[in-house]
Symmetry: C2
Subunit: 341 residues, 2 copies
């Protein structure tokens, strides 16, 4: 395989000039450039990545540690499609900027931090994208301490500055309430996710703002803290529908919870979208095959991937310090919502 020295020799110039051509062609005179191009063509020359990054300190790679469930599952895991769309988005921007994605997995979950230390320590990548952010996320603390470029998909509750892209759950809720109001709803219930989660607070702020903006009254008996389970949807609905004046619409914490709501309605011979409008969150693939099809929020994962990669490149090249970006979820209107009777 040809090296830069052979190219230089054939093009009758020095390796320094060839290197310049490779990295900043404008530094090279027209005639020299032509000869170098011919030599490169002749040898089908590609500069070796290892040599390049040894000296330049740039790998043109970014790191990503996939969350892989250990068991074999081809199930409806909503995260699956999400990850793939995310990857597609990241990959698109990466390719446009001549970057590759390095996927590193830990053999077991306990070793996950070791994977990040290795990615960083061995100089395998120029930056890292984090997903599945947790409260007090130690990966964030680690990378921040090392001053290594990274972007997180999701906000944590750490009191430090770092780059992230996240869903604007609050704006979503506002949008949903406005939509429900336009259908004539005023008695809107809300099954919130568990209080301990980051997204809950953001959505809750949106709920308050959305209700006041639409001049609707928040009623305590219409609020239940659930979790992401089917059961919490089922049980909350039971409680709601046994009130003297039950709500006419309910916002749930996610699609699975919304399925629980609908199961309860079915048992009570009530019809989703008619007796109670139901809105989910996530747009899992089942939601469009359910009977009735579920109105829900979709996260534009591909766009999130774009933004993650763009932010990371900005950081790597020192164009920005800690970019923050929020994206609106898409309200996908299907059959589980309808005008109030």
């Amino acid at each position: 395989m040809a090296t830069i020295r052979e190219i230089a020799k054939l093009a009758n110039t020095s390796i320094g000039t060839v290197s310049n051509y490779l990295n900043e062609p404008s530094l090279v005179a027209e005639s020299t450039r032509k000869r170098i191009e011919e030599a490169i063509e002749f040898f089908d020359y590609h500069p070796k990545a290892a040599a390049r990054s040894l000296k330049s300190r740039f790998t043109h790679r970014i790191g990503l540690v996939p969350l892989i469930s250990s068991e074999d599952n081809r199930s409806e895991n909503p995260g699956d499609n999400a990850f793939l769309e995310l990857l597609a988005g990241i990959n698109t921007v990466a390719a446009e900027n001549k970057y590759d994605i390095l996927l590193s997995a830990a053999t077991n979950h306990a070793d996950e931090m070791k994977t990040y230390q290795r990615l960083f320590g061995e100089g395998n990548v120029d930056g890292i994208i984090l997903q599945g952010i947790q409260s007090e996320d130690e990966r964030i603390l680690f990378l921040k301490k090392k001053k290594f470029p990274f972007v997180a998909y999701g906000r944590s509750d750490l009191p430090i500055q770092y780059a992230y892209v996240d869903i604007d759950g609050g704006q979503g809720i506002i949008q949903a309430i406005t939509y429900l109001k336009s259908l004539g709803h005023s008695r809107i219930a809300y099954i919130t996710p568990s209080k301990s989660l980051m997204c809950t607070r953001q959505r809750w702020d949106g709920f308050i703002q959305g209700m006041s903006q639409n001049e609707l009254q928040i009623r305590d008996e219409y609020l239940i803290e659930g979790d992401f389970s089917e059961k919490s949807g089922y049980e909350s609905t039971k409680a709601f529908m046994n009130l003297n004046t039950p709500p006419t619409a309910v916002l749930t914490s996610n699609d699975v919870c919304a399925f629980g709501v609908m199961r309860c309605l079915k048992e009570m011979y009530l019809i989703p979208g008619k007796d109670l409008s139901v809105i989910g969150f996530d747009n899992v693939s089942l939601s469009q095959h359910w009977q009735p099809q579920l109105t829900t929020f979709a996260q534009p994962f591909r766009k999130i991937g774009f933004l993650l990669m763009e932010s990371l490149l900005d950081m790597i090249h020192g164009r920005e310090q800690f970019p923050h970006k929020l994206v609106q979820p898409d309200l996908i209107i299907r059959e589980s919502t309808g005008p109030v009777c």
Copy 2:
């Protein structure tokens, strides 16, 4: 960041010995080993990947070019989950062997070959996994010519030796026929995929063998060459059911085709699994939510990922030349098949 020289100095030994420790600890005496370990611990030392692979010619990375659909789709694309499971399998074996996966995308489809040339030419990876094999696949020709380690998921019709992992569609069909026979079926129809595809021939061989093994008669009017479309399932079924003695069971080319079969039955007020047993191929996520749930073949993608990576490692390390591996598809029995009435 510490280098191997600093480690050697602190451990009071030479860089050669430290390098030995890193790569083949058995070469280093116990006492020296201890001092080196302490020094590594002290500096939190990680050998730089670039320096390592510059001289050793091993990157500890394998390359994979994902097939990314350009449009934003969070649809039921059956390939999506497949790819993720495949990746999970590859990643697991890779991690166990201290390998990472390099994902490289082309900005547009026309440049795909360039991506492979770059992956190879820049020395970015030790080997490559190919998916979506096509007839006369130029990637295979290229990598073969360069004598670069690669494993393909799927067979092509090229008359050259290369490593692959593939589904044993023929064995699947035999299994399906044996299963149908056990339910009392003898009039079995088969909607084959298009003749031009590699898998068709393999499945067809299985069909012949399965029928003769079960002492069943192949009848020409029960054979239709379809494609992977819903429509071909629909129209073939119309033809079958208008015969004087219609079949009691039908094997289809894939799940989508099977859905077409069932739509036709519904129109004719016939019941899948009762009036006609239907077997799909692929186990797309819809197949278990269909009414009735579809009996179909699932590909064990995660296992395929294992095998791909294991084969590739064998080739990289010169343990095998062109490993071939076939895996059985899993017949998933659901509601669209039943005993003959």
